[in-house]
Subunit: 134 residues, 2 copies
DNA sequence: CCGCATCCTATGGGATACTG
DNA sequence: CAGTATCCCATAGGATGCGG
């Protein structure tokens, strides 16, 4: 049997293993803000404050943190242009591009199935609330 | 212009709007544990403790919470069999099935691109560490 | 077997203010 | 413009024990 270190440097990586590095990656990309950022970059490079404006509700701190982590993971690149004031553009890397379809699917699913989810929630709550009367 | 309540009950839902209900859904499905659970249910119904064993590292509390939320959102169903002791099976609903491909893509991406991510991280850290010497 | 309740700590993430 | 630093609180989530 594979012990605690199972999956480390060995194929195939198994995301169901607690200590597998894939868990860290999953934690990064299965994240609301990361999904929105990656999806927003699909059409091309975007500047920091532009992302900040487009992804409504994200704080500058979280945007900054998330961008840095995604850059470290090789999913996106950061380009600095020595203009005055400085301009910084974020763009998907080739590796990042291999993820965007899946990520976009998640984001779009939410938009397309919102009605069904809302209905399910209402039904669930009605059932749960009604049970008190039994 | 659409005010604060933009997107509520109106099409198209826009996941980039801060107050949009799609954000709640995105928060739910763009979650490490939810992804693993939904992916694990692809092949058929699974019992509670079976999920707990398969998804290594998940606590019973988090599993329970996540299952309940996913059930409320209509993504999966809960079936109780009056055996002794009781048996409970969780399964994807038709709505949940429309999500699993996207979710599986995310989970599998992590497994397939782990090497590239690891390499990117090493390169990034080497660069960051080296800068101290400039 | 399937959970819920409680306790407790670590972390996520918002607000605000300051730097190159 | 593009961040970094600090404060600070809400929540995620692990551990443990009990109940149906």
């Amino acid at each position: 049997m594979r012990g605690d270190d199972s999956c480390r440097l060995a194929w195939p990586f198994d995301v169901y293993e607690a200590q597998c590095p894939t868990r860290m990656v999953l934690d990064r990309i299965a994240d609301k803000w990361a999904v929105l950022i990656l999806d927003r970059l699909r059409e091309g490079p975007v500047r920091f404050n532009h992302l900040r404006r487009d992804i409504k509700g994200i704080s500058q701190k979280v945007l900054s943190q998330t961008l840095k982590k995604l850059e470290r993971d090789g999913l996106l690149s950061r380009a600095v242009f020595p203009t005055v004031p400085v301009t910084v553009e974020y763009a998907l890397t080739p590796l990042g591009r291999t993820l965007t379809d899946a990520v976009a699917a998640i984001a779009h699913w939410a938009e397309h199935n919102m009605d069904a989810v809302l209905a399910a929630q209402a039904a669930y709550d009605a059932r749960a609330g009604g049970e008190a009367g039994l």
